[in-house]
Amino acid sequence: MSSDSLEQRTLSAGIVGDALKQVTRNVPRGEPPAWPTNAELQVVGKDVKRMDALDKVTGRARYTFDVQLPGMLYARTLNSTVPHARIKSIDTSQAEKSPGVRAVHVLERLLQAAELRDPGEEANEPYPVIRFAGQPIAAVAATSARAAEAALDLIRVEYEPIDHVTELEDAMQATSPPVFPGPTEHHATAGGGGAAKGLPQKGNLRGPSKGGSRGDLERGFKEADVVVEGEYRTQVQTHTPLEPHGVVADWRDDELTIYASTQHVLSVRDEAADIFQLPKEKIRAISDYTGGGFGAKYGIGNYGTLAIHLSRKARAPVRLVLDRREEHVSVGNRPSSLQRLKIGAKRDGSLTAIELRSFGTGGVAAGAGVGSCHHSMYSCPNVSIEHYDVFTNAGPCAAFRGPGQTQGIFAFEQAIDAVAARLGMDPIALRDKIDTRDADDVRARAAERRIGAEKIGWSRRRASGSDTGPIKRGIGMAQSMWPYIVNSYTTCEIRIQGDGTVEAFCGTQDIGTGTRTVFAQVVAEELGLRAEDVRVHVGDSRFPPGPPSGGSRVTSSLTPAARNAAHAAARDIASRVAPLLNANADDLIFRNGRIERRDDSKTSLGFAEALRRAGIETLVHRGDRRDDYEGYARKAGELNISPHAIGGVQFAEVCVDTQTGAVKVERVVAVHDCGRPINPKLVESQIFGGVIQGVSYALYEDRRLDGPTGVQLNANIDQYKIVGSRETPQIEVHLIELLGGQSSTDARGVAEPANVATAAAIANAFFNATGKRIYTLPMTPANVLAALRAE
């Protein structure tokens, strides 16, 4: 939409209740007038109840997991039992004859993994080379899941094993078995993923990527009064959505319908269209409800590809839902990291040099970076970054809530805390000194530090390691930063019927964040209705294009398009109703279910009555997400990235038992910004989720592979420990309302900012409690006792 003509407008910007000021922006013509602050709105900014809550508490919500179609077959996948091998032969003949079996398919190409730059010696392989235990090979569709499972046992696979490596630091060695026989590329697809092209690769080490480097590192360290150094390690974390990945694929004649548990229906359609060489209009992807995603549910995937092949062969709908083991092993994880971080600072706290050498393994996938925080959060003239992806014979990584940044901030915010300790400065005062770019997130964090310090009781924070007994308590804080992203395309459609019915459509989806609800609120606000008067339709690729539920970008992308569509509809209605109220269209306002004259609220008509009396039968209006009024710092594919980011500051209070190594997070204060909060209650829920996942990452979760076999040892829910009710700390959320003067709603996301700072805040509290740094996640008793013993 960059061709839009612009007009200058004066808008309010800043933190509501703190420092609102007037700014001048170049606004695309036709944008609705800016909204006032939330306090002056009727529906937006209010704790409207989640629109789909009733369906969810009664079991009526239909997930992909619940789709049952007439004649539907059940499919199961055959997965590799070995971590690295060539497949010499596959014999499916017995499986095909097994009772109830309707189709068998062998996978031709593995998605979601890096690929050889030059297919070379693998060009003649009859099947994809096995590079991790659990890699999908084939699938069977049968009249029952049990029949499909039985048939899997009849498929004969002849492997020719190759040496394998599962641990990051082993794979880094020159003597390590190579996961790939040559250099690789990992292309981004509609299914996500991807890494920078053309990087050097030696053995399993692909890199370095040096993005964010600047200045003269050597000079920076020379100018430093103090230098802190540390080597930080983070583990592999699996997404573990409660609803596993799955599809029901229904190929009839030449049309394909895919019910998918996904974070983006359009990515399912597009990747399937690409693989099956179908026009996009022949494919319909549907997701009424998705039972969690957290970054791993994009595209059609290997399992979805198999299901489509099976449906085409069997001429019947095919349900392929992963079991819990497959979910842990083969469809994504947060890569591990090894971060060597060195920071130089002057006595006054100003940073002079940041050096990062990082390594991460995303198994057979590239893209195991550690985020942008090291070079983008704080002012520092000299930054040197070198990151390497390290391949291992393990399942592929995928985006995971705050991808990269969560690992990066764990190390970086601890290092900043260490600088403060070395300088004898208060960690908050140090941030005041260095967190100084001219951007919204910086201004937000300044306010959030003040609020958080007061709520947690920062003034009662003692010197590190003050407790003399075995149980030690401490308080720490860490800062969050996540890009403010706008999707490059988003269109909403509003349909209004003469009976007063209002429907809103967008090809985005609600994966549990509350998208339906904020969509309805924005439309309702513009039309003077209640949110529940607006029937929202999402989760269908046939609707106007909408954003992926990832990158904290749905609310920022969707709500301005929704408002623009509803605003156009309201203006259209006003022009038709104006004569009935002896007014000009511009003098009519929509409020409390009525259309009334601005100067005389008694001269009014009910919404439906007004439509009827104006003779309106059907109105359809569309609205687009126009570009941010200040434009973007950069564009990467479908991501428009603002020069402003999203902030957030978290404080944690922990208790460490130095005899057992048990760590308990007792309390978290999370202070956040997300532009204009459309629904504070739903924002709070998102932040609870981000903090709880952060506690879980910091303390418990750890994917463990068995070295000799490459098999995951804890690919289940009983041994892969995740925070439950008993480990949930007391969490207090405080939200600021920040107007940026950037769009017609000024809303931004919060899912990722809520997650990225938690582990670092806990680690800094651990230091305050014990006087020791915890360099290794998770903070299990073994890692904690090792940290306490360290010099």
Binding site: A53, T58, G59, Y63, E243, G724, S725
Partner: protein, 180 residues
């Protein structure tokens, strides 16, 4: 959470079953439903695949996440760890049967009020455990709520709101009891 015993003490065990699929009748949400099943059919498979009651979810299929929680004779149980044939002559309540005469259970109302759900996949199981707690102990404390859902996994992190919702439902139930 405990797995339902094969049959309650003092009652006669039901007759033999299988190995071929044969009609199986279960009392579900106050009505007898009959469908073909073989002996390996779990209760959750019977509910979902034979009866189309898909409100009850499967998260792990090994009794570790409690998404499949139903009531058997009023007690919570993991329906993925219960064989369908073992609950003949028992009374099964699922999420679909929790509302009575179109009125939501106080826990369901409180879950909506307090936003005690996000993606919602764990929600039916959570609701069944919290409703059983509130029904059996309207004086429940925060610790009781934590215990009641300690076997449930919610990956979205709705626990704080589940605590609030369940305590609020308990309070509603106590207030309603006093009125009577």
């Amino acid at each position: 959470m405990s797995v339902a015993p094969h049959h309650p003490p003092g009652r006669e065990a039901p007759g033999t079953f299988g190995p071929e699929p044969q009609p199986l009748s279960l009392l579900v949400n106050g009505e007898v439903h009959t469908a073909l099943a073989d002996p390996a059919t779990t209760l959750v498979e019977f509910l979902r695949d034979a009866l189309g009651l898909t409100g009850t979810k499967i998260g792990c299929d090994r009794g570790a996440c409690s998404a499949c929680t139903v009531w058997i004779d009023g007690e919570v149980a993991a329906s993925c760890m219960t064989l369908a044939l073992d609950v003949r002559e028992r009374s099964i309540t699922t999420i679909e049967g929790l509302s009575r005469e179109g009125e939501l259970h106080p826990v369901q109302r409180a879950f909506i009020e307090h936003d005690a759900l996000q993606c919602g996949f764990c929600t039916p199981g959570m609701v069944m455990s919290c409703a059983q707690l509130v029904d059996s102990n309207p004086d429940c404390t925060l610790e009781d709520v934590k215990t009641a859902i300690s076997g449930h996994l919610c990956r979205c992190g709705t626990y704080p709101n589940i605590f609030k919702a369940t305590l609020a439902a308990a309070e509603m139930t106590r207030a309603a009891g006093k009125k009577k």
